[in-house]
Amino acid sequence: MAIFNLNVNAEPRQIDVDPNTPLLWVLRDHLDLPGTKYGCGIALCGSCTIHVNGVATRSCQLPVSAVGNNEVITIEGLSEQGDHPVQKAWLQHDVPQCGYCQAGQIMSAAALLKSSPNPSDEQIESAMSGNICRCGTYLRIKEAIKTAAKL
C-alpha cells in the first residue's frame, strides 16, 4: 500500500492503495466516481475511458502509481451541469440505449473534438473504433459528434 495524491476533476484527492491498482478501480471503489465503467479490463472496449491531460486514456490499464499529478477528468468532471457540447449533442440525438458504454464513448468523443474540432466521418470512425457499444448506437454517436462540433 502507498499514499497517492491525485488531481481528479480539478480536486486534490488522496488515497492509500496498492500501487498497481488500475485507476479505474481507484475511481470506482475509492473515490466514489462510478461513472467510469468496467467492461473488459484489457483496454479493448473503451468503457473505462477518461482524460489524462486531455488525452483519452483507458483507465483499466493505467496503474495509479503512473498517474502522478497529471490532470484526470472523468465523466463526472467533464462539465458542471452536464452541458459539455458532447453531452448536449448526446441528449439531442437521444443516443443511449442501455447507456453503460456511453460515458466512455462521450469521453472519447470529447477528446477527439479537442484535437480535431471538425472531424470527418473517417476520423470519427477511427477515433471511436476503440469503444464498443453492444446496443449498436454507432450511427447516433457519429451524428452527435458532428452536432457537438457545431455547438
Binding site: M1, V17, D18, N20, T21, P22, W25, R28, D29, H30, D32, L33, P34, G35, K37, Y38, G39, C40, G41, I42, L44, C45, S47, T74, I75, E76, L78, G82, Q87, W90, L91, D94, P96, Q97, C98, G99, Y100, C101, Q102, A103, I106, D121, I124, E125, S126, M128, S129, G130, N131, I132, C133, R134, C135, G136, T137, Y138, L139, R140, I141, K142
Partner: protein
C-alpha cells in the same frame, strides 16, 4: 370511445398508500439518493403526494410521478411505459417524473423485460392506470364545481368545465380525487386523440446517463459492503475437486474464501434457474483489485463429472434434465450436427405430400446453413448486490425477470418471499442473458455466509465463459419448383445443440403458402448451457430461410421481393393449413413498404442489395441492405428498414432500437462466434471475441413504420433476425458467392 373493465389487474388500481408506504418496498433507496437531475431539478417538488394507484401519484402543485413497472435494459420502457400511462391520464409530459416501480407481484403484473412483450402485454394495464386516475380527477372536479361529470374535459394536466369557463390543474383536486374509489369501467382515448403516444420523447434517464450518475447494478454501494468474485470451472464438463484457500487467505484485503452450491440438493429448479456450474468458489474482500488479485492467485483443482441429472419444473411440467459428461469441442459439434441433419427428424408439420412433390418437381434446390454458439456479452458484466440479514434480505442489480428468481432465492435462503426485497437497477444490456439470474442467488449465498452486504462482480472473462449461450444450429432447406417456376414443395430440417431452432416456428411463413410442406427437427444433448438471446431461434432461422428464399427466387428467375409477395398472396387468399401463425397482409405490408422506401429496382453502380423479411415476437420486419465493395471488403452503405409493430409509442426511440438491432445483426453475421476445445470456451474477452465497431457499422439506416391503429407489439427483437439474411443476400450480389455458415468472417470475408 373504448370502455374497458378495470377488473383485470384491479389490485393495481386500488389505492395503495399502505403498500406504497410500508416496509420493504421503500426500505433502501440509496440509488435514488443521488442529486436530482433533469426534470426533477427543473420542476418544483410538491409538498405532498397523493397516491392514485400503483402507477401514479400527483402532487398538490400538479407534478405527476409515474412508476415504470418493467426493468430497463436499453429498450426504452422506462420512457415508453410511462408515456402510455400519461396518455390516458391526459397528463402534461413536461410535468411528469418517472420512477422505477418496486418489484411487487401483488401490485404489478409481468414485471419482466423479455420476449418483446413489455409494451404489448402492458398496453391495456398502463392505459387503465392512467384512465382510472383521470376519471376520478374529473369526478372530483364535477363534485367541486357541482356540475355533471359528462361536461368535464381534460387536456394536458388541466381540467375544464367549458360552459362555465372553469378550469384547474390536476394538482388542485388531487387530494380529493385520490380518495375516490376507482370506477368499474373506464373510458380510454381513441388512438386519433393521442397526444403523447406516437410522438418522440427523449429518454427520461438521458441526462443521468451522459453525466455518469450511478444507475447500474455495478454502481451500487453501501456502507460496509464487501466485494465478491467467483471462480468457476474453466471447462464445461468439469466440476470442483478441491481448492487451496491458504494460497490466498493471507493476501491483502481478503476476508474469506469458500466453496458453495448455488442451489440446495433437494431444490427443484425452474426453467430460468439455468445453473451452469452448480458449485463455485467465492472470494470476498475489501476492494475489487484485491479480490481480482486473489482470484488470479487461487489454486483450484477440477475434475470431470460423468453425468448429472436434476428435476426441473418447466412451467408446471416436471421433467428430468440430463447433463452429459465429457469435454466437448466445436469440431465434433459440427460433425455430429451434419450426421443428424442427414437423417429424418421429428415431424412438426406436414402439408400435402412433400415426398411425391419433390419427385415431380422440375427443379429442386437444397442448401444447408449453420450458425455457432453466441455469447451475449452485455457491456455490464453479470453482477448483483445482496445484503442478507437474519430476518430479511435486500438484493439489487440488473435482471430482466425478478419473478423468475424470487422463489428460487427464497428457497435457497430459507426465508419467506415477503422478507425479500428485489430492486431492479438499470441494466447495462440484457439481450436475454439477464432472464437467468443465478448470479443474484450466488451474491445472496455469499452475503449470508459472510454476514455482510456484498457486491458480486463477474469479470469479463467470467461473464463470457459462464455459459447460457445462444445455441449452435444447422438447417437444411429444400425447395421444389414446378415447370412454371412456381414453388410447389418446401422442406426444412433443422436442429441444434442442445436445442432445435424450429419447434415453435414450424407454422411460420412459408408454411401456408405452399401445397406441400414438411418441417422436422432434431437436437443433440450437451453440457454447454444455453438461453434466450435476442429473438431466440428466430435469430438463426430468419437468416437461413431468407438466404434460401433468395436462391429459390433466383432459380425461379423472379425478383426476390416479388417472389415472396406472390407466396404471401397465396397465404392471403387460399392458405394451406389452418395454423399459420402470421398475418400475410401485414407480412406483405412491410415488404411493400421497404420496396417503396428503398427504391427497389433502381440499380446504383457499385452497390449490391439484399432483401430479407421476417415475422417473430408479434411484429413484422423487412430490410433492404445496400453494400459496397471498398478495397476488396464489403461496407454496408445503407439499410432501409420497414416495421409493423402496430401503434409506435415513442417513434425516435423505436427507430434507435431498430438501428441497434441492425448493427447487432450485421456484427453477429460477420463476427459473432463462441467455440470450444475440450470443453473450454476459446474466447474469454474482446481480444478474441470480435464485436462490431464504429467503422464497421452501416453508414446510414432509415427506419420506416407501417402506420396503423393496431395495439402495439414489441420491437426489441423483430428487426434483428432478418438482418442476417439481408447481409448474406447483399454479399452474394456483391461477391457472386453465397455464404452459408456464420460467422462470415470464418468464410474468409470481413467488413471494411
Amino acid at each position: 370511445m373504448t370502455l374497458i373493465k378495470t377488473k383485470i389487474g384491479r389490485r393495481s388500481f386500488l389505492k395503495t398508500s399502505a403498500a406504497a408506504g410500508g416496509g420493504l418496498m421503500v426500505s433502501f433507496s440509496w440509488l435514488a439518493a443521488c442529486e436530482p437531475m433533469g426534470k426533477e431539478a427543473a420542476l418544483t417538488m410538491p409538498k405532498e403526494w397523493f397516491d392514485f394507484n400503483a402507477f401514479i401519484k400527483i402532487g398538490e402543485n400538479g407534478v405527476v410521478t409515474i412508476k415504470c413497472p418493467n426493468p430497463e435494459f436499453g429498450q426504452g420502457v422506462k420512457t415508453s411505459m410511462p408515456m402510455i400511462v400519461a396518455e390516458d391520464l391526459d397528463a402534461d409530459w413536461k410535468q411528469v417524473i418517472v420512477e422505477m416501480a418496486p418489484f411487487n407481484t401483488d401490485l404489478y403484473t409481468r414485471q419482466l423485460s423479455g420476449g418483446s412483450q413489455s409494451i404489448r402485454q402492458g398496453w391495456n394495464t398502463l392505459r387503465m392506470a392512467g384512465a382510472t386516475a383521470r376519471h376520478v380527477l374529473k369526478q372530483a372536479a364535477a363534485e367541486l364545481w357541482q356540475v355533471s361529470l359528462e361536461e368535464i374535459t381534460t387536456d394536458a394536466g388541466l381540467i375544464f368545465h367549458k360552459s362555465s369557463e372553469k378550469s384547474m390543474g390536476y394538482g388542485e383536486v388531487a387530494s380529493m380525487a385520490a380518495k375516490l374509489p376507482p370506477p368499474d369501467a373506464v373510458e380510454l382515448k381513441e388512438p386519433k386523440d393521442f397526444k403523447i403516444v406516437g410522438t418522440s420523447r427523449k429518454n427520461v434517464e438521458g441526462l443521468e446517463i451522459v453525466t455518469g450518475k450511478p444507475l447500474f447494478g455495478v454502481d451500487v454501494k453501501k456502507e460496509g459492503m464487501l466485494i465478491a468474485m467467483i471462480v468457476h470451472p474453466p471447462a464445461f464438463g468439469l466440476k470442483l475437486k478441491s481448492f487451496d484457500d491458504a494460497s490466498v487467505r493471507s493476501l491483502p484485503g481478503i476476508k474469506n474464501v469458500f466453496s458453495f452450491q448455488t442451489f440446495n440438493d433437494d431444490y427443484q429448479q425452474n426453467y430460468f434457474d439455468t445453473n451452469t456450474f452448480p458449485e463455485l468458489v467465492a472470494i470476498v474482500g475489501n476492494s475489487t483489485w484485491e479480490v481480482l488479485n486473489a482470484k488470479k492467485a487461487l489454486r483450484v483443482e477440477w475434475e470431470q463429472f460423468d453425468h448429472r441429472s436434476f428435476e426441473m419444473d418447466a412451467f408446471g411440467n416436471k421433467v428430468t434434465v440430463d447433463v452429459p459428461g465429457g469435454l466437448e469441442s466445436s469440431l465434433d459439434h459440427m460433425a455430429r450436427m451434419k450426421e443428424l441433419n442427414a437423417k429424418p427428424g421429428t415431424v412438426l408439420r406436414k402439408d400435402g405430400n412433400p415426398e411425391e412433390a419433390f419427385k415431380k418437381a422440375a427443379k429442386v434446390i437444397e442448401r444447408t446453413y449453420s450458425a455457432p454458439f453466441l455469447a451475449h456479452n452485455t457491456m455490464e458484466p453479470m453482477n448483483f448486490f445482496a445484503h442478507v440479514m437474519s430476518d430479511k434480505a435486500e438484493v439489487a442489480g440488473p435482471l430482466q425477470a425478478p419473478e423468475f428468481i424470487e422463489k428460487t432465492l427464497s428457497a435457497r435462503l430459507g426465508m419467506p418471499l415477503e422478507n425479500i426485497d428485489i430492486k431492479m437497477t438499470r441494466m447495462g444490456g440484457g439481450f436475454g442473458r439477464r432472464a437467468y439470474s443465478h448470479h443474484l442467488v450466488e451474491a445472496a449465498v455469499i452475503s449470508q455466509k459472510v454476514g455482510a452486504p456484498v457486491k458480486l462482480m463477474y469479470t469479463r472473462e467470467d461473464d463470457m465463459t459462464f455459459g447460457i449461450y445462444r445455441p449452435t444450429y444447422m438447417a437444411t432447406y429444400r425447395a421444389g419448383l414446378d415447370e412454371n417456376d412456381k414453388l410447389m414443395a418446401f422442406h426444412v430440417r433443422a436442429g441444434g445443440i442442445p436445442e432445435s431452432p424450429l419447434g415453435r416456428s414450424a407454422n411460420r411463413f412459408p408454411a401456408g403458402s405452399v401445397d406441400h410442406y414438411l418441417a422436422e427437427e432434431w437436437f443433440i444433448e450437451s453440457n454447454i448451457t444455453i438461453g434466450a438471446f435476442r429473438a431466440p431461434r428466430s435469430n438463426f432461422l430468419a437468416g437461413a430461410e431468407q438466404s434460401f428464399l433468395d436462391e429459390v427466387a433466383e432459380a425461379a428467375g423472379k425478383d426476390p421481393i416479388e417472389f415472396r409477395l406472390q407466396l404471401l398472396e397465396r397465404a392471403k387468399n387460399d392458405p394451406v393449413g389452418e395454423e399459420n401463425d402470421y398475418d400475410a397482409h401485414r407480412y406483405a405490408g412491410v415488404l411493400e413498404l421497404v420496396r417503396e422506401k428503398s427504391n427497389w429496382g433502381q440499380e446504383r453502380p457499385g452497390v449490391s442489395r439484399g432483401v430479407s423479411a421476417y415475422f417473430c415476437h408479434n411484429s413484422y420486419a423487412a430490410h433492404v441492405l445496400d453494400m459496397k465493395m471498398e478495397n476488396g471488403r464489403p461496407r454496408v452503405e445503407n439499410v432501409t428498414c420497414a416495421l409493423d409493430c402496430g401503434i409506435v409509442v415513442n417513434p425516435d426511440a423505436a427507430a434507435n432500437m431498430a438501428e441497434g438491432a441492425i448493427v447487432d445483426g450485421i456484427g453477429n453475421a460477420f463476427f459473432g462466434e463462441m467455440t470450444f476445445r475440450d470443453g473450454v470456451p476459446e474466447k474469454s474477452n474482446f481480444d478474441k471475441y470480435r464485436m462490431i465497431r464504429a467503422h464497421e457499422a452501416p453508414r446510414s439506416i432509415e427506419v420506416h413504420f407501417v402506420k396503423n391503429e393496431i395495439d402495439p407489439t414489441g420491437l426489441g427483437e423483430p428487426p434483428f433476425p432478418p438482418i442476417f439474411g439481408a447481409v448474406a443476400n447483399a454479399l452474394y450480389k456483391g461477391t457472386g458467392k453465397r455464404h452459408y455458415n456464420q460467422p462470415f468472417l470464418g468464410e474468409g470475408i470481413t467488413l471494411g
